[in-house]
Structure formats: C-alpha cells, structure tokens
Amino acid sequence: MSPDQRPDLIIAEWMEYAGGSELLRLLASRCEDCETRVFPRAATCPSCSGRNTVDTALGPDAEFYSFTVMPARGDGEPTVVGQARFEGGAVVRGYIDADEDAIPSIGEAVEVVPFVLPAAGDLEAATTFAFRRKEQAGA
C-alpha cells in the first residue's frame, strides 16, 4: 500500500513518521532521574516513581527481543506478534511484519515500520506499528 493510501495512525499520540513515510518512531517518556524509558508516554516513571519525565522517541532502530506465532483458527491468517528492545532498555510489544517462516532471529536488528490493520466488523482500517528485519526496510 502506498503511503498516501495508508489509513490514519491508530493512536496518533503513540507514533510519528520518521524522516519519510516508511519508518516510524514510538513516542515515549524518559525519566530524568533514573533514565528509564517507557512507552507509551507516562507522567510517572514506572521504575523510580519520579514525576520528572520528558518526551522522547524510540527507534526506528531496535533489537528483536522475542516472538510467537498463533496459528489461524478457521480461515484466518496466523498472528505473528513479538517484542523489540530499544536503546535505553524499553521492551515494546507489537506486530511483526514478516511471514511466519521469515521471522527475524532474536537479537537481530529490526526497524519500526507502518503496518496497516484492515477494516474488520465495526473497526475501520488503521495504521499501527510493526517490527521488521532491518535489511528489509524500504525494500
């Protein structure tokens, strides 16, 4: 899907395009007292309980942290979800933009990319984020 056909970001406060339309950054908070990063943004640090948090962004680069594949039930597609670890230590969960036989290896470099969720029932199509093997980005 071309960028201009892509639906709106599902939660605008969670992500922004990074230098174009093929990569995303996640909008997070950084604690100025203990350096903990947290996504999505939070006024209170979950690590030290401090309230001295400032806006920051995570990615687009990250390290692939883990994953699972949940087989389809019925006629649907398998669901591939995983986690990525960002500079500063935050681990974020999300979709993986890969077929189930091409999932990145744990520890491999990934990037945060737009990922279109199709309309389903009462839900409109929307764009969220996913993790994709870095060398595939922009392919």
């Binding site: 599902i10 669901t79 969960r93 744990i106 969220t128």
Partner: protein
C-alpha cells in the same frame, strides 16, 4: 506473631460444570475442610474468599449457604493468586491474634471467562494497536527468549507437561486424569508457538478451602499431624520485573522459615504454561537457569525425583479456576506433609514451598512444614 497451623483442607474436582453455581463449589470445599478438621461451620470465626469471575461478594454467598453466623467475610481478587492471597489473610488473622480459627475459601468459574479487561475505547484501541495479547502469547514469547538464551529444546517444555499430566493422573481431584506421552503433547494443537495445548492449563470451575488455627486449637483437635505455616511472603512486580518477583518473595520466605532451597521436599508452583517451571526452578534458587532443563530431563522434579514439583498435576493437569488454585496447592502440600497423599506420596516429606503468580504483578510464596 503467633504460630499458625493448617488444620483442615478440602477441594472439589476441578472441571467444566456449566450448570453448577459457583457457590456450590465453595460450599462443597468448605464442608470437606470442616470435616477434615473435625469442626462445624459455627466454629469458624473469620472467612477470606479468593474468587475470580463470579461477581460481587462471593464469599458472603458461600457463607450464606453454610449458615449466617455473622462472621466477618473478606473477599479478595488477585487473578491466579486470589486463593493464595485469601490464605495469606487467613494466616495473618491467626498470627495477628484477630481470631483463633479462620478459613480461606477459593471459588472460580473460568468456563465462562471473557472479562478481564477494562473494555474502554482507549483500552480497545491500545490492544488493537499492539496485537492480540492473551496470556499464552506472553509466555510463548518468554519461551522463545529462554530458548535463545539457554539453547533449550522446546521438547523439554513439553516434557514438563508430560510430568505434570502424569502427576495429575494420580490425583482424583485433577481436571485431567490422563497420562500423555511426549508424542501426545507435541501432537496437540499449537496454541502459541512453541506451546501446545497440553502444555497450557485448561479453563475450569471449582472450589478449595483451607482452615488455619492456633497450634493450641490444632493440638486440641489432634486429628492430623501438625502442619505449620512457617512463611508467608508477598512480592509485587517491579518495572521490567527485575529482580523477578519470585526471587524476591522466595528469598523472604526462606528467611522467615529459616530454610533454604536444599531443604525443600516438594514445590507447587504456577505452571499455567510449561515454560514457567524452568523459569521458576531458577528463580526459587533450586538451580542456575542453564541447569534447569537437566532437572526435567533427569526426572529430578518428577515424583520419585530429588525435588518433585507440582505433585498434584499443577495448573496444567489439576486445573486452574484461579480463585481456588492457590488453595489446591495448600490441599496437596498438607496431604503430603501428613503422609496422606496416596500414590503421590513423597516419602518423609517435611517441607513444601508453594508459589503462585497473579496477573498484573503479584507473587505469593508460602512454606508449610510438618
């Protein structure tokens, strides 16, 4: 603080009972515990009820069917750890001299699970934005992380399920009572790779109860060998769970009881998914993480092994209705310490550890000793 003894235990067979009200499970378990203790309902001075998915004030409803004796009833909900939390509160009711005899009852009706989330539009959007997140997916991702870190073959996780299903086959109160081979487990449907259906706890309904009292009451009744509660520890989750809350709670429990991992004769723990056993072997200090798979492969944690885990089948086989699950652990450990566990009996068992995790970030560890 006063010493505390377990003087009566009871439970129902966990399973799917769509037509049976949850209160009946609580009443049946309570009556069983009263009979085990040699007490009447009128003897109970304080009640704590751990319950999930059954609506408001479930303990009061159970108590009403047993007789409105006017005792205080406190309801607690802590997901999987609800029953363990009720047991801890009953323990403190005795230890803190609030009363001399208290009961912890657990009920759960997960056959109609479906709630759990807040369900606001913001929560629905957040869930859609990050993908499906059932508990099994979280533990499956932990399994992959473990495999990458320690090189463990996922067949070892499946072997945990083989072990626990075998233990459950010896427990007449277990939801599953079938023996499954490694091939059976690996042939069962994948729920979330690498976890198969037979490596995941079933949903189900049931009740369990434990009566605690002062040692003086236990001595007066004199029906069973004394089973003492020598530790009750509780840890909440930290950001990124580091150190893991099982580490924090178990260290506290060992200190309270004056024992260490080498003193344990058995452990009951939260094996909602097979991977958890390996993680908790290490977090409880039984072994280093990289040694955990050897305990499974060598049979050290099976009945007859060095330190059997989940001797009643665990959540995977005995079942996991959440509210009563922690009290089923008390039931099993108490029977083992009395020498009444039948074909599951561990010869000469003196010390048992009970660990329970609750979603949202709670971990309770109790130690019972003969």
């Amino acid at each position: 603080m006063r010493e505390v003894a377990v003087i009566g235990v009871g439970m129902t067979r966990f399973g799917q009972y769509p037509d049976q009200p949850y209160a009946e499970h609580g009443v049946e378990a309570t009556r069983s515990a009263l009979e085990d203790a040699g007490l009447e309902w009128n003897d109970i001075q304080y009640m704590y009820c751990g319950a999930v998915n059954v609506g408001m004030t479930p303990g009061n409803r159970v108590a009403a069917e047993l007789g409105a004796t006017g005792i205080p009833v406190v309801n607690v909900e802590n997901a999987s750890a609800s029953g363990s939390t009720a047991f801890r509160e009953a323990y403190f009711a005795i230890a803190d001299e609030r009363c001399d005899i208290a009961i912890a009852v657990g009920v759960g009706k997960m056959g109609r699970i479906g709630g759990g989330g807040g369900g606001s539009r913001a929560e629905q959007l957040a869930a859609r934005a990050t993908g499906p997140a059932p508990p099994v997916a979280t533990f499956a991702m932990r399994a992959h992380r473990w495999m990458a870190k320690y090189g463990t073959d996922p067949k070892v996780f499946a072997q945990v399920a083989v072990k626990n299903h075998y233990h459950g086959s010896l427990n007449p109160y277990a939801q599953f009572q079938d023996v499954f081979t490694l091939e059976d487990v690996l042939a069962s449907r994948v729920i979330a790779d690498p976890l198969h259906m037979l490596e995941c706890c079933p949903t189900g309904d049931g009740g369990a109860a434990a009566i605690v009292a002062t040692p003086a009451v236990a001595a007066r009744l004199g029906r069973h060998p004394a089973v003492r509660v020598t530790a009750s520890a509780f840890a909440g989750i930290r950001h990124e769970d580091e150190p893991p809350m099982t580490v924090t709670a178990s260290r506290d429990a060992y200190e309270q009881a004056g024992v260490g991992p080498d003193d344990l004769d058995m452990v009951q723990l939260h094996d909602a998914f097979s991977i958890e056993e390996l993680e908790y072997y290490a977090e409880l200090g039984i072994c280093e993480p990289e040694e955990a798979e050897r305990l499974v492969i060598d049979g050290d944690t099976a009945l007859g092994g060095r330190i059997p885990f989940n001797t009643d089948g665990g959540l995977i086989s005995r079942g996991h209705p959440l509210g009563p699950t922690g009290l089923a652990q008390v039931w099993e450990t108490t029977l083992q310490l009395r020498g009444d566990a039948g074909p599951r009996q561990i010869e000469g068992a003196n010390t048992g550890l009970l660990q329970m995790i609750g979603a949202g970030g709670v971990c309770l560890v109790h130690i019972l000793q003969r």
